[in-house]
C-alpha cells in the first residue's frame, strides 16, 4: 500500500537530484583539471614541524599572508607535532612531489634528527625551495656578571669548569658551544634545558655561569637588560645586535653552525613548480609590509634561494656528519 504512494513526482525529483549531483561533480572535477597546467590552482599545505606558537610556526604565519598574495591560492598551515620534527619530515618525504605539500623545517634540527636520532628521511633528498628566516646563536651572561667581555670571560674561565645552560642536547647552540669551547680549551658542564627560555631563566637567576642559546628566545631579556651578550656566533655581524662581536672580531678561527628555517618539498618536485614557489618567496622577501613586520618582530631575515639554501643545508650536513662520533657519545646511555 505504501509502495504505491511513490509517484512519478518523486521519481522525477530523484532524477533531477541525480542530474544536479552529476553536474556538480563534473564541474568540481573539471575545475582543477582546467587549471592543472598552471601551478598553483589548489590550496597549498604547509606542514610545520612544531606546535602553534613556536618560532617556526610564528614565522610561517607571518609569511603566510604574503605568500598567499603572490601565489594567489590559500596556504593551509598544519602543525604536525612530534619527535622533535622527525614525524613531520618522515611524512612529507613520502608525499606526492607536486608542490602542494611543503614543509617548513629548522636546520640543523633536520640534519641532527636524521644523523643522530636516526630519522627515517634524507635531508639532502628533500627539494629545497627557499629559506627566509635565520637565527643567531649568542653567548650570554647575567647583566651584572663579573665577565666584562669575551677576553675577560676566557681568562677567568681558564682552569675552571664553568656551567653553561643550553636549550637542548644537540641543539644548534649546544653544537656551536662545543666547537667554541674546544677551540678555546675551556672545560664546560653542559646543562640541557627544555628550550631557550628555560636556559636563559637559569642564567638570569645565577644558577649557571653562562648560557648559549638562540637570540630569538633572548629578545625580551636583552631589551629588559636582564641578559648581556658577550658574543654572537655568525660569519657577519647581526644587524639587530650590531655592537656584539662575532668570532672574526675576536680573532677566533671557529666555524659557525648556522641556524635557519626553510621550506622544502618531497624529493623531485618539478623545476617549473619550484621556480613558481621560489618567485613568490622572493617577492614576499622584498615586500615592504613584510619587512616592516619582520623588523618589528625582531626576526632575522636572511633570504636564500633554492641553490643557496641547498648549499647551506649540505654544509651543515657535512659538519654534523664530521661531529657525529663526538655527539653520539654524548647522547649514548650513561653506564
Amino acid at each position: 500500500m505504501k509502495k504505491g504512494r511513490i509517484g512519478t513526482k518523486d521519481v522525477r525529483k530523484a532524477n533531477l537530484m541525480a542530474l544536479a549531483t552529476a553536474l556538480v561533480v563534473t564541474v568540481a572535477l573539471a575545475l582543477p583539471a582546467s587549471g592543472a597546467d598552471k601551478f598553483p590552482s589548489n590550496p597549498i599545505k604547509l606542514v610545520i614541524t612544531h606546535a602553534a606558537g613556536t618560532s617556526n610556526d610564528v614565522e610561517a604565519r607571518t609569511a603566510q599572508p604574503f605568500l598567499q598574495k603572490y601565489l594567489g591560492v590559500p596556504i593551509v598551515i598544519e602543525n604536525m607535532v612530534g619527535t622533535g620534527g622527525r614525524k613531520s619530515r618522515e611524512f612529507v618525504i613520502k608525499e606526492k612531489p607536486d608542490g602542494y605539500t611543503l614543509l617548513s623545517t629548522g636546520m640543523p634540527s633536520c640534519q641532527i634528527g636524521e644523523i643522530l636520532f636516526k630519522g627515517r628521511y634524507q635531508t639532502l633528498s628533500f627539494t629545497h625551495i627557499y629559506s627566509l628566516f635565520s637565527e643567531s646563536t649568542a653567548l650570554l651572561v647575567k647583566s651584572d656578571s663579573p665577565f666584562k667581555n669575551m677576553a675577560d670571560f676566557v681568562e677567568k674561565a681558564k682552569g675552571k669548569t664553568l656551567s653553561c645552560a643550553v636549550p637542548g642536547v644537540g641543539s644548534t647552540a649546544h653544537l656551536n658551544g662545543i666547537v667554541l669551547t674546544r677551540y678555546l680549551k675551556l672545560n664546560t658542564k653542559w646543562v640541557p634545558f627544555d628550550g631557550g627560555t628555560e636556559a636563559l631563566t637559569a642564567m638570569a637567576g645565577g644558577h649557571v655561569d653562562y648560557v648559549i642559546c638562540d637570540t630569538g628566545s633572548a629578545t625580551a631579556m636583552l631589551q629588559g637588560k636582564v641578559a648581556r651578550p658577550l658574543m654572537i656566533f655568525e660569519d657577519k655581524r647581526d644587524p639587530r645586535y650590531a655592537d656584539v662581536p662575532i668570532q672574526k672580531d675576536l680573532g677566533y678561527n671557529v666555524d659557525t653552525i648556522p641556524s635557519l628555517r626553510g621550506v622544502v618539498g618531497p624529493p623531485n618536485v618539478p623545476a617549473d613548480v619550484v621556480n613558481i614557489l621560489e618567485a613568490a618567496f622572493i617577492k614576499s622577501a622584498q615586500d615592504k609590509d613584510f619587512l616592516a613586520l619582520a623588523e618589528k618582530a625582531k626576526v632575522k631575515i636572511t633570504a636564500r634561494d633554492a641553490k643557496q639554501f641547498f648549499a647551506v643545508s649540505k654544509s651543515i650536513y657535512d659538519e654534523i656528519k664530521a661531529e657525529e662520533g663526538n655527539l653520539s657519545a654524548m647522547v649514548k646511555p650513561e653506564k
Binding site: 604565519r61 637542548g168 653542559w190 634545558f193 645565577g206 629588559g224 637588560k225 647522547v331
Partner: protein, 505 residues
C-alpha cells in the same frame, strides 16, 4: 609622578574605546570556546589569531590576546564541572569536587563558584601584577634546578594528604604516574626511553589523553552502565547565588590558593596544573573533614579555581617584569607583545605605558565579562546534568575523543585516550585514586629533569639540595608534609588518651 598618572589615565581611557571593548568581548568568547575544547588551549588560540592582528593597533591586538589568554580557563572549568572532561589539563583539579557537585544536583552552584573565582583570582592577580611584579619576579628567579626539583618533591609529598584511607593504593597510583613520566625523549641526556621502537612513544606522553581518558572516558563507561542522569537526584538544587555565597564562606582557603596560584604562576618551571592541584591538596589537608573531599565539597572547587585564575596572572608577572615568560602560553603572549612593538622589562611602563595600562585595565574587565557570562549562562549549561545518560553519553565521548585528536591531529592520541579510559575505569572499580597518577605524571618530569640538572651543576654533590635557604625551607616542608598525617594520628591518640585519664574514676 603626574606624568605617570596621566599615562595611567590615558591607558584606562584607551581600554574603554569601542574598538578595544569589542576586541575584549571577541577575545573572551574565543577564549571560552578554545577553553571548552580539550586539546585546544590558549596557546593555540592566540597563535591561530595572530596573523589577523598584524595590521591592528598594539593595544587592540594585545587586549584580544590577553582576553583569550585569561578567559580560556573558565571555558575549561565548565566542562570539568558538568561532564568530568577538562577543557585543558589545568582544569583537572576542578573536576575532583566540581563533578561530584553536579552529580548531587549542585552543578549550578559549582559554576557560580568558578565564575566568582575568575573575578577574585583574576582581580587580585592583576593587582599583584601591577604593584609587586618586579619583587615576585626577582624571587621567582632564585628558583634554580635544585629548588625546582625540591618544589616538585614537595608537591608530590602533599599527595599523602589526598590518599588518606588507602595509602598503599594511592602510592601505587602515584608510582604508575611517575613511571609514565619517564617514557619518551629525555631532554637531559638526549636519549629515548621505553619506546620499544614505536615512534609514537619517542615523544613524552601528552597529559590531555591521560587526563581525558582517566576521567571523562572512564566516567562515560560508568554512566553508560548506570543509566539515569548525571545529577543523580534528578533535579537542580543549588543556585548561582549559593555559589557566590559559599565562595565567600572560605576566606582562608581563598587566601592560601591565591598565594599558591600567583607564586607558582610566576615560576617558569611550574604552571597551572601544579598550582591548582597544590591548592586542592592544601585545602584537603587543612580541612577539618578531609574525607568530605571528592564527594562534592564546594571548598574543593574554590581552591583549584582560585589558584588557576590567579596563576594566569602570575604567569604574566615575570613576563612583564623581566621578559621571562612564566608558561608556554605566556611565551606566545610575549612573542605577540614584541611583534607589536611592546617590549616588556623594567622600562616597559616608561616606553609603552599607555598600551600596558590599557592591557591591564582590560584584563580586569575580562574578569568581569567572564563573570557576567558565567552567571547568565550557567543556568542553561547546568541543565545538561538533567539529560538522560543515554542521550548525553555519546556526545561526551565524541567531545572527549575529538579533543584528544585536536592536540596534534593524531589518531594515536585517541587510542591512548581510550586505553587510559579503560585503565581509569578499572582503577576506580578497585578503589585506586586516579589523582596521584596524574600528579606523578606532571611532577615526575619536573622533579627528575631538574634533579639531574642540579647534579650536573653541583658535580654530583647532593649539597646543592640544601645550599640555599629556599632549598632548606622546601626540604623541611616536604618532610613535614610526609610525617604530618602520622603526627595528626599521634596527636589524636594522645588527646584520647588524656581524656581517658581524666574520665577514669
Amino acid at each position: 609622578m603626574t606624568d605617570h598618572w596621566s599615562l595611567v589615565v590615558s591607558g584606562i581611557t584607551l581600554a574603554f574605546t569601542l574598538k578595544n571593548i569589542l576586541a575584549l568581548i571577541l577575545g573572551t568568547v574565543i577564549g571560552i570556546v578554545v577553553g571548552v575544547l580539550p586539546g585546544i588551549g590558549p596557546t593555540a588560540g592566540m597563535a591561530l589569531l595572530l596573523p589577523m592582528t598584524f595590521g591592528w593597533p598594539p593595544a587592540t591586538a594585545l587586549i584580544l590576546m590577553g582576553a583569550i589568554f585569561f578567559s580560556s580557563n573558565f571555558g575549561g572549568s565548565i566542562t570539568s564541572i558538568l561532564i568530568n572532561a577538562p577543557g585543558d589539563a589545568s582544569n583537572s583539579a576542578t573536576m575532583m569536587d566540581g563533578f561530584p557537585m553536579t552529580e548531587n544536583g549542585r552543578g549550578n552552584e559549582a559554576l557560580g563558584i568558578s565564575a566568582t573565582s575568575v573575578i577574585v583570582g583574576g582581580g587580585v592577580g592583576v593587582i599583584l601584577l601591577v604593584f609587586t611584579a618586579p619583587l615576585i619576579a626577582m624571587f621567582a628567579l632564585r628558583f634554580g634546578p635544585a629548588e625546582n626539583a625540591l618544589l616538585a618533591v614537595f608537591a608530590l609529598s602533599i599527595i599523602a594528604a589526598m590518599v588518606v584511607g588507602s595509602p598503599v593504593k594511592g602510592l601505587i597510583s602515584a608510582g604508575i604516574g611517575l613511571f609514565l613520566a619517564t617514557i619518551g625523549y629525555d631532554g637531559v641526556s638526549g636519549n629515548i626511553r621505553f619506546s620499544f621502537g614505536v615512534p609514537y612513544f619517542e615523544d613524552e606522553l601528552q597529559l590531555i589523553p591521560v587526563v581525558v581518558g582517566m576521567f571523562a572516558v572512564s566516567q562515560v563507561i560508568t554512566m553508560g552502565e548506570e543509566g539515569g542522569t548525571i545529577a543523580k537526584v534528578g533535579k537542580l538544587a543549588g543556585s548561582l547565588m549559593e555559589g557566590i555565597k559559599s565562595y565567600a564562606r572560605h576566606p582562608a582557603t581563598i587566601l592560601r590558593s591565591l598565594g599558591i596560584g600567583v607564586f607558582i604562576g610566576a615560576l617558569p618551571a611550574a604552571g597551572r596544573v601544579t598550582s591548582s592541584f597544590m591548592a586542592y591538596a592544601d585545602a584537603v589537608r587543612s580541612s577539618k573533614n578531609p574525607e568530605s573531599f571528592g564527594k562534592g565539597n564546594p571548598e574543593g572547587v574554590i581552591a583549584p579555581e582560585t589558584a588557576n585564575n590567579s596563576c594566569a596572572m602570575g604567569d604574566l608577572i615575570p613576563t612583564l617584569a623581566l621578559g621571562i615568560p612564566g608558561s608556554t602560553a605566556a611565551a606566545v603572549f610575549l612573542g605577540i607583545m614584541i611583534m607589536h612593538g611592546v617590549v616588556p622589562g623594567p622600562r616597559a611602563f616608561v616606553d609603552n605605558g599607555q598600551v600596558l595600562y590599557a592591557l591591564l585595565t582590560s584584563l580586569v574587565l575580562v574578569t568581569v565579562v567572564v563573570f557576567v557570562f558565567g552567571i547568565s549562562c550557567s543556568g542553561y549549561f547546568a541543565r545538561l546534568s538533567l539529560l538522560s545518560n543515554e542521550v548525553i553519553v555519546p556526545y561526551i565521548l565524541i567531545f572527549s575523543l575529538l579533543g584528544a585528536y585536536a592536540i596534534r591531529n593524531s589518531f594515536a592520541d585517541v587510542l591512548l585516550t581510550c586505553f587510559f579510559g579503560l585503565l581509569g575505569y578499572v582503577m576506580k572499580r578497585f578503589g585506586y585514586n586516579p589523582v596521584p597518577l596524574i600528579l606523578g605524571l606532571v611532577l615526575g618530569e619536573m622533579a627528575e629533569k631538574n634533579f639531574r640538572r642540579a647534579m650536573i651543576v653541583s658535580d654530583g654533590s647532593y649539597s646543592i639540595f640544601y645550599a640555599s635557604w629556599i632549598a632548606k625551607i622546601l626540604l623541611a616542608m616536604s618532610l613535614l608534609s610526609i610525617i604530618y598525617p602520622y603526627l595528626k594520628v599521634l596527636y589524636r591518640r594522645a588527646g584520647r588518651g588524656r581524656r581517658h585519664v581524666f574520665s577514669s574514676p
